[in-house]
Amino acid sequence: MFKKELVAGSNKSKVKSSAQRAIRAKVLETYPRLEPHIDEILPKKEQLDLVKLPDRVSLYCLASTPLFWQHMDDAIMPHLQVVHKYPWAFSRIRIDRGAIRFVLSGATLMVPGLTSPGGRLPGDDEAGEEYGNDGKELEVGEVVVVDAEGKENACMIGVLKMGTKEMKEKKKGIGIENGHYLGDGLWKLDLR
């Protein structure tokens, strides 16, 4: 979604505290495992800023640190910087090494990147604790963080277009579209 470079600039507006509370609640609802850290990420006292981006995207940030973004009324998603700080709080899947360069240049994430050796989906035998998600499959529409084989930090975050169970059965098709990836326009955005 952020393939083009973005310029933020002057349209930073304050968020009303009622709206701030609403955002906090929404974030906790979508990412329950963030709860112990929510005060560090979204302190109650601090003034949250709203930056409007092209394509009806709103970005909520704290001074010059981006926090969460939202396209229209879709799910609210964390900026990758937040994901890097608290990786254990999100559902994760993993792509294999060959897919990394495509993801980092903004391509749509396709299922073979997740089902080929090197990829990890929840419910797999090799998934282990990190990707196992307690054995539960992820559904369509869930926000999921994409890790890369051999790397510590996440490379992308987006909404699942296909449930993980379907992915394992079909092994073809679109996995995640329109996400936020490392090095995209949103990542490079300078908020000062």
């Binding site: 600039g9 002057s10 495992r33 112990p36 850290h37 560090e40 910087q81 890097h84 700080k85 608290y86 990786p87 254990w88 709080a89 294999d96 090494r97 060959g98 990394i100 360069r101 980092l104 050796p117 090197g118 890369a148 084989e149 051999g150 790397k151 510590e152 930090n153 490379c155 490392l182 090095g183 990542w187 490079k188």
Partner: protein
């Protein structure tokens, strides 16, 4: 309540501290996909030598390549080379542009002995025109705006004759612009096309 209490301790860890590369702003492990790998590697060796050894040691490279098939490896290498070459060509082009482009500061007569200062050529140096225009307005307590020139470029128009002060300001705030690149011109006509 007892269940959540036993689950919580495992999840309350301090935030993970991530180092981001000073060259490409990505975590250092992703630098190889950026097209500036050599510079990234140098930066990392200078600032975080332990990380550098971890990521760029011979075994790390071997391990990363072994999981790809031979074809994929070759393609990955070619792509990496192409990207690096492109990035280099871009940089050379930018450096040339900077060396040759000039900033032209013109003093144009408005009416009744009043002047307007026009500053063209700042984009070549990567300055955000809107921000700079605002600063000028604040600094000189006068009106300032960004306008388009006939040739398609953009220039900053400041009311009043501030040409000398602009030169000083540029020297102070943006020392990377060499003084020879700044030209002051006097214009008798109204809004003529800038000459380079």
């Amino acid at each position: 309540m007892a269940d959540t209490a036993t689950q919580a301790p495992t999840d309350v860890r301090p935030p993970k501290h991530v180092v981001y590369c000073g060259v490409c702003t990505l975590p250092p492990e992703y630098c190889e996909y950026g097209g500036t790998t050599k510079k990234c590697s140098d930066w990392l060796a200078a600032t975080h030598p332990s990380l550098h050894r971890q990521l760029y040691s011979a075994d790390a490279a071997a391990a990363s390549l072994s999981t790809l098939s031979v074809d994929a490896q070759k393609r990955a290498e070619k792509d990496a080379q192409k990207k690096a070459a492109k990035a280099e060509a871009n940089e050379v082009r930018e450096a040339e542009k900077r060396a040759s482009s000039k900033i032209i500061i013109k003093r144009v007569e408005r009416n009744k002995r009043k002047y307007v200062t026009e500053i063209a050529g700042l984009e070549a140096f990567g300055l955000d025109l809107k921000k700079v225009a605002k600063e000028f307005g604040k600094k000189f307590a006068t009106g300032s705006s960004v306008t388009k020139t006939a040739s398609g470029g953009e220039e900053i128009t400041v009311q009043g004759d501030v040409s000398d002060e602009v030169v000083d300001w540029l020297g102070e705030h943006h020392e990377e612009i060499p003084e020879d690149n700044i030209e002051q011109v006097e214009d008798k006509k109204k809004k003529s096309a800038p000459t380079v």
